[in-house]
């Protein structure tokens, strides 16, 4: 559906802010002004490395269409609170909510987000947009996230972990990219020369989804998982299976043989620190940190870091866990603003907007950009590995009480990494507790017999 570009105000909305803006929309935008004129909207978002690129992309939208967008930027610690305050009030403060993977389920289940197709039935999802583990859809009746549900949000930032490795060290040792776990273990062992360089630096600290997030690619990459089949509503706990044991054994072995001696106390910032100061040969890190690697003010290894999809067991696909951001429209705001928000999303998902986004330093959500020649440039060498990994991104939790489960995982995994408890004990006790939590909230659940 192509909105009118001739000088006709659509029945959708009224331009607030002067006729001059309307003239800009239809004049300077030219053939690129595909969005209709709409009300000003406010977006709640957090400060982050990719925020600046988002801001520039929004400014481009404003220039091309004349619609106004106000960005309320908050610290990460507290952005959830601000969104909750807004959606729970009778009248919301914000129209577009930029939700983190940690809490979007809460907002879906609570009925706080209005389906895009409910606001505008003619909205067509660009077929090149990554669907990120089907998290952009939600069935409010069955309460599952599958393409059969309604379209609730558009991805804003498709963040998944990639394997960062030192290309220069690889060249020096004649190594090739690690694709399987066995190869990663071998490469990390060869490059491990403590205390100058550690073969791999892992994020073992206990925090809010800290060590657990680091562990997901290993768990799922070996073919394991926390629940049996979330999409079908079966929350039987499968964490303490033999595959789970293999994965955790591997994770601890890596740390012991090629890792940092203080893995149990390293959090995300510490891991990145180790990489930028040149002390790590490999890290598993969210792609959002790529900009730090090549910034001479922040890194001692400029242009030396390469990227690859997270390793996996042979025969299985790569399995990065999602740490992404989705943009959904709040339910408790006036209809005109809802439609204006959808207008923005319609523009944002397109290839042109996403090309501008990546040039400003962001991470595109549209696969067409990854096929563009820009992906060949050295500065954007992370794009090809990311494009290979994104279709396999896994949404670990499809229910709102996920934070209780991640708290259990973080504590148990941290204790295992610190050597306080054995692998079997860790997996068994975590599974037992997770089973308890799922039962408490009346999910269909079960458990496996304990590991010996």
């Amino acid at each position: 559906m192509k909105p009118a570009t001739s000088g006709r105000v659509t029945r959708r909305g009224v331009v607030v802010g002067g006729g001059a803006l309307a003239a800009t929309a239809f004049g300077a935008g030219g053939h690129r002004a595909r969005a209709a004129v709409a009300e000003p909207i406010s977006v709640v978002i957090n400060q982050s490395p990719w925020f600046d690129s988002f801001r520039q992309t929004v400014e481009l939208y404003e220039k091309q269409t004349g619609n106004k967008v106000d960005l309320d930027v908050n610290p990460f610690a507290g952005s959830l609170e601000k969104q909750r305050n807004s959606v729970r009030a009778a009248k919301g403060q914000y129209d577009l909510l930029v939700m983190n993977s940690g809490w979007f389920a809460e907002l879906y289940f609570g009925g706080f987000v209005e389906a895009i197709t409910d606001i505008d039935p003619s909205f067509k999802l660009d077929p090149d947009v990554y669907t990120l583990g089907d998290t952009i859809w939600f069935d409010p009746v069955k309460k599952v996230m599958t393409p059969a549900g309604k379209l609730m949000s558009i991805p804003i930032s498709p963040l998944i972990p990639l394997l960062y490795y030192r290309g220069d060290l690889y060249k020096g040792a004649g190594l090739s990219v690690a694709e399987t776990f066995a190869e990663l273990e071998a490469n990390a062992g060869k490059l491990n020369h403590p205390p100058g360089v550690y073969g791999i630096v892992q994020r073992g600290a206990r925090g809010t989804a800290s060590v657990s997030f680091d562990f997901y690619p290993y768990l799922y990459g070996f073919g394991g998982g926390i629940f049996k089949d979330q999409a079908a509503g079966d929350y039987t706990v499968t964490l303490n299976s033999e595959t789970g044991r293999t994965a955790l054994d591997y994770y601890l072995r890596l740390a012991k043989q090629a890792g940092h001696p203080k893995t149990a106390s390293l959090d995300q910032a510490d891991v990145i620190q180790n990489m930028v100061t040149g002390k790590a040969a490999h890290i598993m890190m969210v792609i959002a940190a790529w900009s730090q690697m090549d910034d001479p003010n922040k890194s001692a290894v400029v242009d030396k870091v390469e990227f690859a999809p997270p390793p996996h067991a042979p025969g299985l696909p790569t399995a990065p866990g999602l740490g992404h951001w989705l943009g959904g429209v709040s339910r408790n705001v006036p209809d005109g603003r809802k439609r204006a928000a959808v207008e923005f999303l319609r523009w944002f998902q397109g290839k042109d907007a996403q090309l501008a986004n990546v040039k400003a330093g962001g991470i595109p959500i549209n696969a067409a950009v990854y096929r563009d020649p820009i992906a060949e440039e050295h500065r954007y060498r992370w794009m090809k590995p990311l494009a290979a990994a994104l279709p396999h991104a896994i949404n670990i939790y499809q229910f709102p009480q996920a934070s209780e489960v991640t708290a259990i995982l973080d504590l148990g995994l941290n204790r295992a990494v610190a050597g306080e408890i054995t692998v079997a004990d860790a997996l068994n006790s975590m599974s037992e507790q997770i089973y308890g939590v799922m039962g408490k909230y009346d999910y269909k659940t079960g458990k496996l017999p304990p590991l010996r």
Partner: protein, 278 residues
């Protein structure tokens, strides 16, 4: 005279101890301020010597994503207003409670309640206050934060001023009453000058707490009314702590409190020499 006596007379030991303590206090602060002039990588590499750059200060003060000067102004307005309000309210209430004819249970219940209130985690209060502010349409104004800070500092101010108010010799008040002074005159002419040093100390503390308060400020402000801690917190991001920008903004944020402190310092000394009962 022995060496020990000579040292004692000149207070060398005291000075040595004080200087050592001063060093422990100052070194991290200086280090923070210096960090604002470094590049992130030089900080992470732990290098001692570095070439100063202004990039972090530039970004904090002048970049498009930073409203630091606005945040600064907001913090100043909220800090000064809430401190003035809080101290005024607290001093009057403390004097009324301790020096006027209230039944003892009133005094104990009110002060006890203030204590209990002081124990509540500010985060739990913030959500409730947001709902209330939104209901009356104050959620995007500074007034809601001013009131919140006033009430947050009230318990401490009440108790502090209670201590200082009770130190005022009752004979003075009696004498003034006999001379026919009304309550306002009594407060203004007799009580106020004597409690002035305590008032100054309480004011400094109240201002500092308001200046540094984060949890409530986060909930009750929007971009236009955000205060300095909210701005600084934005540098502690999900994937990195932008140490150098955080340090730069922290260095800038210390300034007003420091100036106020120097100011109040002299007032404390002046108050003491004038108001002492001898």
């Amino acid at each position: 005279m022995s060496l020990l006596t000579a040292l004692r007379r000149h207070g060398v030991a005291k000075h040595a101890a004080l200087i050592a303590a001063a060093a422990i206090v100052v070194v991290p602060v200086v280090w923070v301020v210096a960090a604002g002039f470094r590049t992130q990588i030089s900080l992470l590499m732990g290098a001692f010597w570095f070439t100063p750059v202004l990039a972090s200060f530039n970004e904090v003060l002048f970049s498009k994503t930073s409203d630091f000067l606005v945040n600064y102004r907001n913090s100043l307005v909220v800090g000064l207003t809430s401190t003035a309000l809080c101290l005024m309210v607290a001093t009057l209430a403390a004097w009324s409670l301790h020096r006027m004819r209230w039944p003892t249970w009133v005094v104990h219940v009110f002060l006890g309640w203030a204590l209990v209130f002081h124990m509540m985690p500010p985060i739990a209060l913030a959500s409730a206050w947001f709902t209330m502010a939104r209901a009356v349409g104050l959620d995007s104004t500074l007034l809601s934060l001013v009131l919140a800070h006033t009430v947050l500092n009230l318990p401490m101010a009440l108790w502090l001023m209670g201590v200082y108010v009770r130190d005022v010799p009752i004979e003075l008040e009696e004498a003034a009453r006999i001379d026919g002074a009304s309550t306002p005159t009594l407060l203004w002419r007799i009580v106020l000058p004597i409690i002035a040093p305590g008032l100054a100390a309480a004011a400094v503390l109240s201002f500092v707490f308001s200046w540094n308060e984060f949890a409530v400020a986060l909930n009750l402000t929007v971009k236009a009314t955000a205060t300095v801690p909210v701005a600084i917190a934005k540098f502690a991001q999900e994937y990195e702590i932008r140490y150098t920008q955080m340090a730069a903004s922290a260095a800038l944020s210390i300034l007003p409190a420091l100036i106020l402190l120097l100011f109040a310092q002299r007032y404390i000394v002046k108050g003491l020499t004038q108001g002492a009962v001898k």
